[in-house]
């Protein structure tokens, strides 16, 4: 017991006074075991239970004397047990709060009495009695484990044949058993607890990175370290945090959760306080539970992660299988076999561990096929500046790159030797990639492609050669097929990437050019991009942008364009001032402070601008970079470049603009800089990509009315319409239809489109197109169908059917547009007949159940014209089972648009008496009344209309009054919106049929407001206001009359 308590139990760091047990699972388990031992003591060893301790166990208890019952003499503040020792002293003595216990029997009874708090009591006891054995048996027995003391005790036993000694001995044995038991138990616990180390964490992160990215099937959107710098021990946490066992901090963005800032420490993985704004410090404080590793943590936090992870895991194991097969095919030496077996044995013994801990072994698997050797070059080692080392390091590296072997190897080998028979049969079934023996790597090297060796040789010259040799090696390296992944990764894996990046930091122009030419090519590979960023390549390239050599600038910018395809890289470009420099490249045409001797390695200014734009295009995918480009004065420069006729310059320029046009500031600037004109001009280009980006830019900007007009004025509508006819290039088609959609928000534009026969073409695009195109096509049709002529065209071209068919989709954006378009078509009775026949109304109605509020609202709006124009609308509406209840319940929504649209739908539904009766039964009146206190004019308008129509049934008028809807309505008259006035006046007119409502209106000053309305040019408003006033007046007269008669 003593050993277990001192060794295994986790005590808090020495504080003031007594130390306490930490509340850890292990401690809890130990305490539980002790409790069980004591509780069962009475039954198992009844004799020993009466043994009186040498010294009492003493601690502060929380137990109340009143808790003790029979067998104890209880007073206000003390308790004595009736059981006493030879000297008549009680075996249990409680004097609040101190308690003394002197036998196992009493201990057990005490625990029984304590009931729910026995855990606390046991803890307090253990804490207060750090050496229980000494107290129970006397100091002699304390060190029972030591052999010498055993002899002592034996001596004693022999000398004085005392029965008590016998008893003591027995208890000592029992306690020792308990001790052993506890130790075993805690061992089990510890073995479950896998401490993390930098290696495993790094592997976890690397692997997760590989499966991260955009798209449905990745496990995460991204995962990245907060710091690029890795200390030599593999940690990334700053040293003062490493003291706390923290390894690194990671930013993780799962698909379905916000970005998480996570601390990986040797204790486990937990959420920290996150990164403070503007790239500041990390708030290191723990904010959540500790998980045993990153994967468990993420599984807990993100459902999407665990879902996709389970899919990916299949992929992992496949890869694993692939790699695993290899070593077993070629057992070279006897020794090697046994070694592998040994390893396998270890895997068996840790199998349980591996199952819990998602692929500890898997993590080190590299997932690219054909690249077994990749793992051999430890990235940490690669970091060492190769330039410094003259000698060829590579082979050496291959041999020592095995730090991952577990320290418990010897033990494992011994263990497995015992079980060798058992293992032999299944040496191939376990994963052993992690512990791959070094000689095996050498074998694997034999399979490498010849390029690998050639590239390795060239890298050797890069490292050990002077400028001349370096240039030759670079030129020769360039002759490899650098677009091929094998070569790309080969360069990296022989340590070429570091050298190439180091070369950028020299003064040798030719070396820099040669190096960039290679980097430019290999940076098409996503892994290489990350490696370049990890190796600090970006700041150097950004610095090169200042070079007087245009070629260098170009190459650096192009490489940056390739590298800046992911967030961290874009951020790095910005934080090193790259954006300003790239923007400056756009200005190249203007200043010619070039060295006179420039012809040799130089290129044209336009080329510089092109490369600059290319890099900006990549960078502009981050919001902060868009802002930085604007601040650096990029927009006027881009606008100027738009005037050129060089297609290869125009594409990145327009691409950047299009990317940035998502920002309001850009859209304003685009308008101000007269960019639209040039965008329109380039729509007529021959280049499909250019057309696409121009159309995309117009799409982004045409939310603005003035811009839409500009597009028309510059003749942009015609090329857009004619581009519709080419449907092969789907990206372009999506961009073009998008531009048409946004442009057709203006009526003048729609007229033009009709002129160009674009509407017919759009209808033709309703089938067999990808969703991105469909969303835009339907959106455009929805806008066009606001006009009667176009509705007819759509109907005549057979557009109704495909539109209705699209109502069953699941794409939210598409549904919003489709419902709008169908609603627009329903304005025309003939189209409505078709929609009705196709069961379109039912489909619309069922979209009211769509989870997305935009879809709900859009569907409800679309229902209004349907109900208006359908033949026998009342019967149709009633035929939807549960439909009316559904609509009424939507009034409980908290989305203003949904509420307004549903009010509008109710207005239409209520025109049918029978339906009005039904919705009244569903409680439409209180729900509408509840909405009355709103500030939104749109909602007020439709709400007032709905109320005025709902008044037509039963005692609804009275009910509205009872639900306090009248007073707020009166206030609507103070709004500035005439639509609100009209609807409100009508509602008040209806409500004024009830005397009580008239009084409320009068009290709220409605008469004066209504009097003003009577003077309105709007006839309906006039009439309603006048009618309302007359009702109020009539009531007043009637009361007067009543008074006098």
């Amino acid at each position: 017991m003593g050993v277990a308590l001192t060794r295994s139990a986790q005590w808090t760091a020495a504080g003031r006074g007594t130390r306490t047990l930490e509340t850890t699972p292990l401690n809890e388990a130990i305490l539980k075991e002790i409790i069980m031992f004591v509780e069962s003591f009475i039954y198992k060893y009844p004799q020993e239970a009466h043994y009186v301790f040498v010294d009492p166990l003493e601690w502060k208890t929380n137990l109340n004397p009143s808790a003790f019952e029979s067998g104890y003499s209880v007073s206000e503040t003390t308790v004595k047990s009736e059981e006493v020792d030879k000297n008549g002293k009680p075996l249990l003595f409680l004097s609040v709060p101190q308690i003394k216990v002197r036998s196992f029997g009493q201990l057990a009874r005490l625990l029984l009495i304590a009931k729910n708090t026995k855990f606390q009591e046991a803890q307090a006891c253990v804490e207060a009695n750090r050496n229980p054995i000494a107290k129970i048996l006397g100091l002699d027995y304390d060190t029972l484990t030591e052999d010498s003391s055993k002899v002592n005790i034996l001596d004693k036993i022999i000398k004085e044949d005392d029965p008590e000694i016998d008893m003591k001995m027995k208890i000592a044995m029992l306690l020792k058993q308990l001790d052993l038991h506890l130790l075993n138990h805690s061992l089990k616990h510890i073995s479950l607890e896998i401490r993390l180390n930098p290696g495993t964490v790094k592997n976890d992160i690397e692997l997760l990175k590989r499966f991260s990215g955009k798209g449905e099937h990745t496990v995460l959107e991204y995962i990245d370290y907060t710091s690029d710098y890795e200390f030599s021990n593999g940690c990334r946490a700053p040293p003062w945090r490493q003291v706390h066992g923290e390894i690194c901090y990671v930013l993780v963005k799962p698909h379905d959760v916000e970005t998480l800032c996570v601390t990986c420490s040797s204790e486990g993985v937990f959420l920290n306080g996150g990164k403070t704004e503007d790239e500041g410090e990390i708030n290191y404080e723990r904010k959540g539970a500790v998980y045993k590793d990153l994967v468990t943590f993420l599984k807990e936090k993100s459902a999407k992660f665990s879902e996709n992870m389970s899919k990916q895991e299949f992929a992992f194991s496949e890869e694993q299988q692939k790699e695993k097969d290899q070593p077993n095919e070629e057992p070279k030496k006897e020794e090697a076999i046994t070694f592998r077996k040994a390893v396998t044995g270890s895997d068996r013994s840790t199998q349980e561990k591996n199952q819990i801990n998602f692929g500890k072994t898997r993590m080190t698997k590299r997932l690219e096929p054909s690249l077994n050797w990749k793992a051999t070059v430890d990235s940490k080692e690669r970091r060492s500046l190769v330039r410094d080392s003259q000698e060829e390091k590579h082979i050496g590296r291959l041999e020592k790159a095995r730090p991952s072997v577990s320290p418990g190897r010897a033990q494992i080998v011994r263990k497995s030797a015992e079980k060798i028979e058992e293992i032999i049969s299944e040496s191939s079934s376990e994963s052993e990639e992690d512990e791959e023996p070094p000689d095996h790597r050498q074998e694997a090297n034999a399979d490498l492609p010849s390029e690998y060796w050639q590239i390795q040789k060239l890298v050797k010259y890069l490292k050990g050669g002077n400028q001349t040799a370096t240039v030759i090696a670079l030129c020769s390296m360039k002759d490899f097929n650098l677009a091929h992944e094998t070569c790309q990764l080969a360069i990296r894996d022989v340590g070429g990437l570091e050298v190439l990046i180091n070369l950028l930091d020299t003064d040798e122009v030719k070396c820099k050019i040669g190096s960039l030419k290679i980097l430019k090519e290999i940076s098409h590979n996503p892994q290489i991009r990350r490696n370049i960023v990890d190796l600090g390549g970006l700041p150097i390239m950004v610095k090169i942008l200042d070079s007087p050599y245009k070629t260098l600038k170009c190459l650096a910018a192009e490489t940056i364009a390739n590298v800046a395809k992911f967030r961290r890289a874009r951020r790095a470009v910005r934080s090193h001032g790259g954006i300003t420099k790239l923007v400056a490249l756009l200005d190249c045409g203007q200043n010619s402070t070039e060295p006179a001797q420039s012809s040799l390695y130089e290129t044209r200014d336009m080329e510089v601008a092109r490369c600059g734009a290319l890099a900006l295009w990549s960078c502009s995918k981050s919001y902060a970079n868009k802002e930085a480009i604007r601040k650096a004065g990029g927009i006027p420069l881009l606008a100027r470049l738009l005037k050129t006729s060089h297609e290869n310059v125009l594409i990145p320029v327009v691409g950047t603009l299009q990317e940035c046009a998502s920002e309001e500031s850009y859209r304003a600037a685009i308008k101000a800089e007269r960019i639209i004109e040039n965008l329109v001009k380039n729509l007529n280009s021959e280049n499909e990509q250019l057309q696409e980006h121009c159309a995309m830019a117009i799409y982004q900007c045409a939310e603005d009315e003035e811009t839409r007009d500009l597009v028309r004025l510059h003749g942009g509508l015609k090329p857009l319409a004619s581009l519709l006819n080419n449907t092969d290039n789907k990206e372009r088609l999506a961009a073009v239809t998008g531009a048409i959609w946004k442009c057709s928000i203006s009526k003048e534009n729609v007229t033009k489109f009709r002129e160009y026969k674009a509407i017919e073409t759009l209808v033709g695009l309703l089938t067999d197109q990808p969703e991105e195109v469909l969303v835009n096509v339907v959106g455009a049709l929805g806008e066009c169908c606001q006009e009667y002529e176009n509705r007819v065209i759509v109907r005549k071209c057979g557009g109704i059917q495909p539109l209705v068919n699209l109502l069953v989709g699941i794409n939210q954006a598409l549904l919003v547009n489709v419902t709008k378009a169908v609603g627009a078509c329903a304005l025309e009775p003939e189209s409505m007949t078709i929609i009705d026949r196709l069961d379109g109304v039912r489909l619309l109605w069922s979209l009211l159940k769509n989870p997305h509020p935009d879809v709900k609202a859009s569907a409800a709006w679309a229902l209004c014209p349907c109900i208006q124009n359908a033949k026998d609308a009342g019967e149709m509406v009633r035929s939807f089972v549960g439909g009316l209840e559904l609509v009424v319940n939507l009034l409980k929504s908290d989305n203003k648009e949904v509420l307004a649209s549903v009010c509008a739908a109710i207005t239409n539904i209520a025109k049918d008496q029978e339906n009005l009766a039904v919705i009244t039964d569903h409680g439409v009146v209180p729900l509408l009344s509840k909405l009355a206190n709103t500030n939104s004019d749109k909602l007020r308008h439709h709400l007032a209309e709905a109320i005025s129509h709902c008044c037509m049934w039963g005692r609804n008028r009275v009910a509205f009054g009872e639900h306090n809807a009248v007073a707020p309505l009166v206030r609507y008259l103070k709004s500035n919106d005439t639509n609100v006035h009209r609807a409100t006046a009508q509602a008040l007119y209806q409500l004024s049929e009830d005397a009580d409502n008239c009084i409320t209106m009068h009290e709220n000053g409605a008469v004066k407001l209504l009097l003003d309305m009577v003077g309105s040019p709007d006839q309906e408003l006039q009439e309603a206001a006048a009618g309302c006033i007359s009702n109020i007046r009539r009531l007043a007269l009637a009361t007067e009359k009543a008074r006098y008669t």
């Binding site: 000698e391 060239l458 050669g465 040799a469 020769s476 002759d479 060295p595 001797q597 012809s599 040799l600």
Partner: protein, 210 residues
């Protein structure tokens, strides 16, 4: 110096070297005489000997490789009299400072082939590259490394596979990859040095212009 003779000399040189203005040619001639240090001797047969010229290459144009500096000297010295006269000086500098791509290409090739057969042979390449690896390893190993490097170069540049590099090979390779212009060692000054030199040599013109 006799202004008349100078003028005549400027005229005659300007006829052959088009990339300099007359005033610039005059400056270069003056500089030449200053460098030669004997301005009063007859104009034609004075010249810079190899050591003096190498000194200039080193101090003004920042070249360091002895072998290549010698070769540059021979490339300047068209008439092979071991002495660079004023015409050769101006002509050579025109390539150095303002040479077109073709001129430089030719110049480099001339620097690299020495024995006059019009080819750069494997041995010559080895000679030129032998100092290009600074490894502390044994001589044999270095030799081995250089040999491989020579092979790499030949593989890249010897298009007709005759084991040596002809001007056609050289031209083709360099046109494909300009970095290969000075493939066997720097023999053209760097742009910065050229600018400095021009600023120094033509300072009279520059200052008089303002």
């Amino acid at each position: 110096m006799d202004p008349k003779a100078l003028k005549k000399l400027v005229e005659s040189i300007s006829n052959t070297v088009k990339s300099f203005k007359k005033s610039e040619v005059e400056c270069l001639i003056r500089l030449f005489h200053k460098l030669v240090g004997r301005a009063d001797v007859r104009l034609d047969n004075v010249g810079l000997d190899r050591n003096a010229f190498r000194g200039i290459l080193y101090s003004i144009f920042g070249m360091t490789d002895d072998v290549l500096m010698n070769r540059v000297f021979f490339a300047f010295d068209k008439d092979n009299d071991n002495c660079i006269n004023v015409k050769e000086w101006v002509k050579g500098l025109s390539v150095f400072l303002r040479g077109t791509f073709e001129e430089r290409l030719k110049f480099c090739f001339e620097v690299y082939y020495l024995n006059g057969d019009g080819y750069i042979s494997r041995e010559e390449i080895f000679d030129m590259l032998k100092n290009s690896l600074h490894q502390p390893s044994s001589e044999e190993e270095t030799d081995e490394g250089i040999k491989e490097l020579v092979d790499i170069t030949l593989k890249k540049m010897d298009y007709d596979n005759d084991g040596k590099i002809s001007f056609a090979d050289f031209e083709k390779a360099v046109k494909e990859e300009r970095l290969l212009l000075e493939v066997f060692g720097p023999c053209l000054p760097e742009a910065k040095n050229c600018l400095d030199f021009e600023a120094l040599a033509f300072r009279h013109i520059l200052t008089s212009r303002f």
